[in-house]
């Protein structure tokens, strides 16, 4: 599993003690932020979320208990492990602090290296616990056979379909993929991205997927295979669903008709697809015009046909593929992704090779879930 630098927020009005402690934590490999008062700390917490807070008890204006109360009142901050630093071994104070869900107490005259080890252990235990809960959740989802990413690809006459998916930090997130074979002729390909990351987004993928599957199936029952019409129905229902209020998702919906060998496409706030023509050896964008699902009841969905010649490829992907961590921060660059992809295609790389040599080789730079689907038009002579 990937390890990340632990970030700790130290709060103490004694500058000298703060410097000494901060020096010791940095030496032990921590990323350390310091604040000289509870108010300063609250300000910092507006933009940075540490792995733990170590706070002095006795501080002017806002003491440690009052600072802790402020954190508890904020849903985004209340679960950060909180440890009190105190001069005094006061039982009454400890009881009060524990009532405020402080994880532990550290006496200020404890040797600094012991304080560092104690913090390290606390963060490790909390993270281990979270990991265990996540594993339980994963196991439960697998047992219920709820998946937002399929285990295999469908076989469609005349085409080869492949996909690659990498969840952000190995935690299931907001990307979802599905292949729905509506009948012997028609296969729908679904790629969505709930706006958000990790567990919260993952949870909502199932609601969106259920609506998409239902709309495809009901459409097929009434003979309506229009991808734009399916998106319209899905969007209308999502806009009416109170549970999904403020939850938005992009969606690319593709239909492959193996009889006519035609592809039709409609998109909702998705990134333009990339179409590689073997004849010209160039990648071209294929943009849709629909808005994100859940934004407005009228999502303005239209559809277009895409005609692939032998050996042409169509790529459908989420923004995790185009976002990456650069030297001095994160970056979102669709054109760079496209320009880097093209040379692999002109050298006729297989999807497997693309996975290994391009997609997976840069996973350490990824900052979001990554998903990409390739539709390859098989040559009649293969």
């Amino acid at each position: 599993m990937t390890t990340f630098t632990k970030k700790i927020l130290l709060v103490d009005d004694n500058q000298l003690f703060l410097k000494m402690l901060s020096y010791a934590f940095k030496n032990a490999g921590f990323d350390c932020i310091t604040a000289e008062s509870g108010a300063d700390a609250l300000n910092i917490l507006k933009t940075e979320i540490p792995d733990a807070v170590l706070s002095d008890y006795e501080m002017p204006w806002m003491n440690g208990l009052e600072f802790r109360e402020e954190l508890l009142a904020d849903a985004a901050l209340k679960d950060i492990p909180f440890i009190f630093l105190t001069h005094i071994s006061d039982n009454e104070l400890m009881v009060k602090g524990l009532g405020l869900q402080a994880v532990d107490y550290v006496l200020k005259d404890t040797p600094v290296n012991v304080i560092v080890s104690k913090l390290n252990n606390i963060i490790y235990t909390v993270q281990k616990q979270q990991e265990l809960s996540k594993n339980e959740l994963k196991k439960a989802a697998e047992a219920l056979n709820v998946r937002s990413i399929p285990q295999s690809v469908p076989h469609v006459k005349g085409f080869a379909i492949d996909f690659w998916h990498q969840p952000y930090q190995d935690i299931p997130g907001g990307d979802f993929i599905d292949f729905i074979q509506a009948d012997e002729r028609r296969t729908f390909i679904v790629l969505g991205d709930i706006m958000g990351k990790k567990w919260m987004a993952w949870f909502f993928t199932f609601s969106f997927l259920s609506y998409v599957r239902a709309a495809v199936r009901f459409g097929a029952l009434s003979g309506d295979y229009s991808v734009a019409s399916i998106l319209r129905k899905v969007n209308e229902v999502i806009c009416l669903d109170d549970v999904l209020k403020d939850i938005l998702s992009s969606l690319s919906l593709i239909l492959i008709d193996n009889e006519t060998q035609q592809i039709s496409y409609s998109g909702a706030g998705d990134l333009p697809l990339l179409y590689y023509r073997e004849k010209t050896r160039q990648l071209k964008q294929v943009a849709s015009d629909g808005l994100l699902l859940g934004l407005f009841p009228d999502g303005r969905y239209t559809e277009q046909n895409i005609h692939l010649e032998d050996n042409d490829r169509l790529f459908i992907f989420t923004d995790g593929m185009t976002d990456f961590s650069a030297g001095n921060g994160k970056k979102s660059d669709y054109n760079q992704f496209m320009n880097n992809l093209e040379p692999f295609l002109t050298h006729n790389q297989s999807f497997k090779a693309l996975e290994q040599e391009y997609f997976a080789s840069s996973t350490s730079e990824k900052v979001d879930d990554c998903s990409i689907i390739q539709i390859y038009k098989v040559s009649r002579y293969d």
Partner: protein
């Protein structure tokens, strides 16, 4: 997270103070701007000049703010976007939903 730069009749100009607008600060951003909308009942101009990167969680927060404002018949206007950030909004058609201007002077003409 945000700084109020100007409290003008009819609108507020606020600036996003982070360079990475992402999952870690999206929820705080949303609640702060929603509170400003509820308290002041004024249109909001958001200056993005410091923002180098925006992720989908933050875009989600931005859209939730827009929906909240529209329900109160208020406007949310975006200005000062860096090219990468602006390009991303164009790619996913959010330019059809938000009013986006190069700078504050252009934005107030539209208000």
């Amino acid at each position: 997270m945000i700084k109020i730069i100007k409290d003008a009749p009819g609108h507020l100009l606020i600036e996003i103070e982070v360079t990475e607008a992402n999952l870690d600060n999206a929820e705080v951003f949303k609640s702060q701007v929603v509170e400003l909308l509820d308290r002041n009942k004024k249109n909001i101009v958001i200056d993005f000049n410091r923002v180098e990167y925006i992720d989908s969680s933050f875009l989600g927060a931005l859209v939730a703010i827009l929906k909240h404002a529209m329900a109160q018949k208020l406007e949310v206007i975006l200005t000062g976007m860096k090219r990468d950030v602006h390009d991303l909004l164009l790619l996913i058609r959010l330019d059809k939903v938000f009013k986006i201007y190069g700078n504050y002077d252009e934005a107030i003409i539209a208000l």
